[in-house]
């Protein structure tokens, strides 16, 4: 079997300083297969990709391409050998058009562009992928999914034999995911081997031919998809069984209404949002990317205040004009973008946790009570199991899941009565995801009213008591958990009669 492998790793090891990132890793990729690689954050997936694409060189072991040992010293050498990768955040040059972007690294010879040839060649790459994309349009304004298509076409122009997709769907909406999966199948039909890395297990079951699980830098198993079960795969990934994927079928018993919103809107952004949220209830906002769900969260948190409708909080009608005002009312917003909006990455854990509640720690002349601050942060480190030896470590050095917990701690310290989560588990591994879900359920049980904005349908159905579906800035429906199914939510999100293959 390994004789026919297009890409093979034999006993590859790689260490950074004293930490072993990969240990004795062996893996064979066959031509024309979709090979999923799964593992928790920190399992070694990134290092594995970087070794296959020439970013890192292995300390020991061999890489073989079509049976021949190779040394990959750079991404260029990897591309020459036929291996390329696309990432969650594609690289496109906004001022160039699509065709120019596709051929960015191998333009034709000569001083002048032969535009007609360029467009014809670009179309020849894009059309077989089964997508409609005008190769003449400027790359600025392309959606994330379209940018990924450009990157895939770029890789194809280099005649790659192995294409690595690293978390390609993390930021895509449901129908964009369906399209990307179709592209992956089209690549497979062209004989390209696709290495597919994703935290979303449902996608893997839809698309993969074989699944490799890695854990702690080691190869755990490689099995044909037909022999894999979800629980088995998760057990392999975390080394223990996790029971968090059970769907919720009945709503939690809840208390009195905490937040009541009617006709809520913001001029030109969204409108007509109505719901009552009770203490202890979890309301999920579902919908496609671009349905303006985040804007509802930002309006309630005062960052981009509502211009229409009424907000009644704990029986009082009010307006929320700034984040500070929202926080003083007991509203917290855990943003989806940890890097840009959530955490000061170069500052230590404790400074991030205390950030939203500095006032509580300030005494005479505004001096910070550093003992109290460090005790408070240490308490959260233990309570939320933030994996770090102490709270002096820069947040930027933590894994995504642990960063998410730091962000949670920051908002828990403000003692919110209404807590808004925006994509709380994006880009974090199954283990951390289960922990975050556990925290959300515990908070609800304590009587916190919770809004979860999520594009991850299984997550919505696992957490929600009610599901508010949005489409193009309007409320498309409000379902109780008993009547909410994947199909119904998708149908509402995408519009009637426009059902997308789930």
């Amino acid at each position: 079997m390994t004789d026919s492998a297009i890409l093979e790793l034999r006993s590859v090891s790689k260490s950074f300083a004293a930490t072993a990132a990969l240990r004795d890793m062996s893996l064979a990729i066959l031509p024309g297969e979709i090979h999923a690689i799964v593992g928790e954050n920190g399992a070694g997936k990134s290092t594995l990709i970087k070794i296959m694409t020439g970013v890192h060189q292995p300390d020991s072991g061999q890489i073989l391409v079509e049976g021949q040992p190779v040394t990959l010293r750079s991404t260029q050498e990897a591309q020459t050998a036929g291996i390329a990768a696309i990432y969650q955040e594609p690289m496109v040059f906004p001022d160039l058009n699509v065709a120019e972007n596709i051929f960015i690294s191998n333009r034709g010879k000569g001083a002048f562009m032969r535009w007609a040839d360029l467009y014809r060649d670009a179309e020849a790459l894009v059309v077989p992928l089964g997508v409609t994309l005008d190769v003449r349009r400027a790359a600025a304004g392309l959606t994330l999914a379209e940018q990924q298509t450009v990157e895939i076409a770029r890789a194809l122009s280099l005649k790659v034999k192995v294409l690595i997709m690293d978390e390609p769907t993390a930021s895509l909406s449901a129908h964009e995911v369906a399209r990307l999966l179709a592209i992956a199948r089209a690549l497979k039909d062209q004989g390209v081997a696709v290495i597919y890395i994703s935290h979303r297990l449902d996608e893997i079951f839809k698309i993969a031919d074989r699944v490799t699980v890695i854990r702690d830098g080691q190869h755990i198993s490689t099995r044909p998809i037909g022999e894999v079960t979800e629980t088995g795969m998760v057990r392999d990934m975390v080394g223990r069984a996790i029971d968090s994927f059970a769907m919720k079928t009945a709503a939690n018993p809840v208390g009195e209404v905490a937040l009541s919103v009617s006709g809520l809107g913001r001029e030109g952004v969204f409108s007509g949002v109505n719901f009552d949220l009770a203490k202890g209830e979890v309301l999920c906002l579902a919908g496609l990317v671009g349905a303006r769900r985040t804007d509802v969260g930002l309006a309630l948190f005062g960052i981009a205040p509502a211009t229409q409708g009424t907000i009644v909080l704990h029986g009082t009608s009010l307006t929320i004009g700034s984040a500070r005002a929202a926080m003083d009312l007991g509203i917290a917003y855990v943003s989806e973008d940890r890097r840009k909006l959530g955490l000061a990455m170069s500052l230590p854990i404790f400074a991030n946790i205390s950030l939203a509640s500095l006032r509580k720690l300030m005494g005479l002349f505004g001096l910070i009570d550093r003992r109290a601050e460090s005790d408070m942060a240490e308490g959260y480190r233990k309570q939320l199991d933030i994996r770090s030896p102490d709270t002096l470590i820069e947040v930027g050095k933590l894994s995504g899941g642990n960063q998410q917990k730091v962000m949670l701690a920051k908002w828990l310290e403000t003692n919110p009565t209404v807590l808004i989560f925006d994509e709380p588990t994006r880009g974090i591994d199954v283990g951390a995801k289960a922990e975050v879900h556990g925290i959300i359920r515990t908070l609800a049980a304590k009587g916190v009213a919770i809004i979860v904005i999520s594009s991850d349908l299984p997550e919505v159905l696992a957490l929600a008591d009610r599901v508010l579906v949005m489409r193009e800035g309007r409320q498309a429906g409000l379902l109780g958990i008993a009547e909410a199914t994947q199909e119904r939510v998708i149908a509402l999100a995408a519009g009637t009669g426009e059902r997308v293959a789930a």
Binding site: F16, A344, M345, S346, A351, G366, E394
Partner: protein, 317 residues
């Protein structure tokens, strides 16, 4: 971050020791207390303003208008005294001028949202122009005796008022930056203003406070400058902003904001003072001195970047 800052301050300390030892070796009288005081006095106005500039740059902003505010304050003081005002009233008026100048900067930057580089560049030209118009080409002096005494003589023993003010500000601003909630907000906003906004911090108010503080410090420094020299002109303190920013950056404060310490800036001030003194001792001209400090600054920006690149390369190899 902590580690790299500490090693940076270690390097500054070593550099300071070298410059200090060389000075002492070349000129035995260098070590006398009066000489040490003189060393500070020669640049006292700049180093006072550099302390507030440290907070501004850590906040990821810049204030280019400080030298013009200094000049304006000095000129307004001389103008009022020459028009029959008492020294105390004139000084108070100058602080009001500083407050107003800072408020103009603050409104344009923090409320309207124009980049501080643009606003303070315009104000640098505007305030300077105002100072020149006020006194034309004259040189104004004739200050009351108590003013020049305060500017030149010791207030507590041999220590003059300006040096006392510098050390008080150094300690107070050091505590503000590193120990208070306000200082924490300055650092967080400098690291990522959006994260600060999403955490409920009042970004505009912090920035406004800093720019008003900066102009107030500059106005105070302008008064000290007038009192020390005994006479002022429309071009007093011209170009001081660059020396001030140099002191801050050499102290390890990141021009991108979010990083820096008061100890680092204090060490950097000591190094620059000693370097200038030492070079003057061996008859290096002022222009060459400025060149040497420029090279030091380029080095201070390059070295951390080179170290960073080398580390990245090593971890990749």
């Amino acid at each position: 971050m902590m580690q790299s800052l500490k090693s940076w301050e270690g390097g500054l300390l070593a550099l300071f020791c070298i410059t200090f030892a060389l000075n002492a070796a070349f000129a035995p009288e260098f070590l006398t207390l009066q000489n040490q005081i003189n060393l500070f006095q020669l640049s006292i106005e700049k180093i006072i303003v550099a302390l507030v500039m440290t907070l501004i740059i850590i906040n990821a902003e810049i204030d280019l208008s400080v030298a013009s505010v200094m000049g304006l304050s000095a000129v307004v003081f001389a103008f009022l005294v020459n028009h029959g005002w008492g020294g105390g009233a004139a000084a108070a008026a100058c602080l009001v001028v500083g407050f107003v100048a800072g408020s103009v900067n603050a409104v344009l930057i923090a409320r309207i949202g124009i980049p501080s580089l643009v606003v303070t560049l315009a104000m640098m030209i505007g305030f300077r122009g105002f100072a020149r118009v006020l006194v034309q080409d004259q040189s104004l002096g004739d200050f009351p005796g108590w003013v020049t005494n305060l500017g030149q003589k010791g207030l507590v023993g041999p220590l003059p008022l300006s040096l006392l003010l510098f050390f008080i500000l150094l300690i107070v601003l050091g505590i503000v930056l590193h120990r208070t909630g306000f200082g924490r907000q300055v650092v967080v906003i400098g690291t990522n203003a959006e994260v600060a906004r999403f955490s409920g911090l009042n970004v505009g108010r912090v920035k406004a406070t800093l720019f008003i503080l900066s102009s107030l410090a500059a106005a105070l420094a302008g008064l000290l400058y007038a009192a020390r020299l005994g006479s002022v002109r429309g071009d007093s303190a011209l170009g001081f902003e660059l020396d001030i920013i140099t002191m801050v950056l050499l102290g390890g404060v990141s021009i991108f904001g979010g990083k820096g310490s008061m100890v680092g800036v204090f060490l950097s001030i000591l190094i620059i003072l000693n370097l200038r003194n030492g070079m003057a001792l061996i008859n290096v001209t002022g222009h060459v001195q400025t060149g040497v400090i420029g090279i030091l600054l380029i080095g201070s920006v390059l070295i951390p970047n080179l170290i960073h690149d080398l580390r990245a390369k090593r971890s990749r190899a």
